[in-house]
């Protein structure tokens, strides 16, 4: 390791200071999560009598139950459960399609030899940083024209298309590092472009597939704006339902229910994060640096 750890030993004071800083930082990072967690299992009485940072007198899962199945969003009082189901139904296909199209396009771009290749890259890179606002309204119009605005198909379509520059770039950067001779060898064997992609290239892309899938999963699951505009009332994702629940019961609200709902919305991506830690980190690092 190039780490300076084996360099001159730090003075004792510095070591203590360093750990103190790290621990305080850790508390800062953990605080919101812990607060939400503690209060989501607190009876309402505790919250009224104390504050968010007092420990519960008893642990109750009632807020979770309410948040899950009977909290109200406007007139509808079926909790956040439908939102979870909608989010799953949206996220899973969108991620699968994103990964496949991203991989195919990325491979095509990596293979494409042309003097326009650099310009296309610029074209994509800019696409990566375009604020959605500059595209949203025309996209609404285009999807309306296609008859899929505010529909299940529509929201998946938007997620896939808006994610295209990102997924494509990630895959392209991976495939540029795959020796070209492998593709050439497949071509010698008579395999067409699509066949090569499917039989030879895709099976060796597991790592990057996992990385992109995780990034897209967190991205799409956590999306709010696109879901709000494109999903339609029957397919609202969990993030939108969550804000509806919270804002519906503003004021004399039941914070414990809100917090349980927030946790429910956060749990899937947190699970992905904890299960796939290494890939998640690698994904962020590669995605960020190359993007």
């Amino acid at each position: 390791m190039s780490s300076p750890a084996n360099a001159a030993a730090m003075p004792r004071v510095a070591v203590v200071g360093m750990y103190a800083f790290l621990i305080v930082s850790a508390l800062f990072f953990l605080a919101p999560f812990l607060v939400i967690l503690i209060n989501s299992v607190k009876p309402m009485a505790d919250i009224r009598s104390g504050n968010l940072l007092t420990l519960p007198s008893e642990i109750t899962f009632e807020p979770w139950r309410i948040a899950w199945s009977s909290a109200c969003t406007g007139l509808d009082c079926s909790g956040i459960k439908p939102g979870l189901w909608n989010s799953i139904l949206i996220t899973v296909p969108a991620v699968v399609i994103s990964v496949l199209t991203g991989a195919l396009n990325g491979y095509a771009l990596a293979q494409w030899r042309s003097r326009f290749a650099d310009w296309l890259m610029l074209f994509i890179l800019i696409g990566l940083f375009v604020p959605y606002q500059a595209m949203l309204y025309p996209t609404v119009k285009i999807l309306s024209g296609m008859g899929i605005f505010r529909s299940y198909t529509g929201i998946i379509f938007v997620h896939v298309v808006y994610g295209l520059p990102y997924t494509t770039l990630l895959f392209r950067n991976f495939y540029v590092g795959v020796p070209d001779e492998i593709s050439r060898a497949a071509r010698m064997e008579g395999a067409s472009f699509l066949r090569t992609f499917w039989s030879v290239i895709l099976p060796i892309s597991t790592n990057i597939i996992v990385v992109v899938a995780i990034l897209q999963f967190t991205g799409i699951w956590n999306d709010y704006l696109l879901g709000l505009i494109f999903a339609g009332n029957d397919n609202l994702p969990m993030t939108v339902q969550l804000t509806n629940i919270v804002n519906n019961s503003r004021g004399a609200a039941e914070p414990n229910v809100n917090m349980a709902a927030a946790l429910l919305a956060a749990i899937p991506t947190l699970i992905v994060y904890f299960v796939s830690g290494r890939y998640f980190v690698r994904g962020i690092a590669t995605g960020a640096v190359k993007g």
Binding site: P32, Y224, T239
Partner: protein, 291 residues
Amino acid sequence: MARWFQRQMFRPTFTVVAFFAVIAIFFYGSIGWTFLMSLTKSSLMPRYDFVGFEKYADLMDNKRWIVSCINMVVFGALFIVGSLILGSILAIFIDRGIRFEGVFRTIFLYPLAISLIVTGLGWRWLLDPTLGIQAMVRDMGWENFAFDWITEPDRAIYTLVIASVWRSAGLVMIIVLAGLRSVDGDLWKAIRMEKIPQWRAYVQVIFPGMRPVFASCIVLLMSEVIRGYDLIVAMTNGGPGISTEMPAKFAVDFFFSRMNLSLASAASILMLLLSLLMLAPYLYSEFRRRD
């Protein structure tokens, strides 16, 4: 012709063309359309009676837009500097071979897996004067303690900074850490031989050599600033008053609830221009490095 087609089966051409078409239509076509609308007087529905740059002039007279822009600059500067400093310090410490490195890393990074909606809600509750930190400190006996920034028009913007730094410092940390880990080990040996103090080594030797790493961090954070929407909606919804409005929210509001298409389009185009302006030096150096 048939032979040409047959040969293309072995080439990426068709895929590249299809991909290019989708990006061209949904990204650049939409941007063009938005730009056209910004030159009209469209309100509820697009109407194509062009009035030139009148709407841009209107924006400059619009108090809410001006406040949004000022907010974005203040927020952006504090958020980027804060994330860079905190993230870099954490990266340095983690790079020193601390104990429980994995635990600390996990804690600093998990906010990235959580949606901005949940982040915003969490911090809203934590900073709520009647529920959160202020209430806790008062319950502990300091009756006059005040930490009610989120309800103060002058201060509310800083609460957004806190929440954003909380979410993005981990990102900076992981990117800087990757940079630190790729520093040549001999460089550290040389630094030790020359008896250069560690902090100077970082400030004057190591970090200057990692300029591209910081550049990509800054580009990434900037694009978050310009796009920032979810967090504001969840945390302050622009309030109190319009004290935490920002351009991204301005555009969405005027597109979808205030139904002033032309003004929203003009705002979006300005956001896009700003993004490109920020991106230009980065893209320039990227492409020059490649040549």
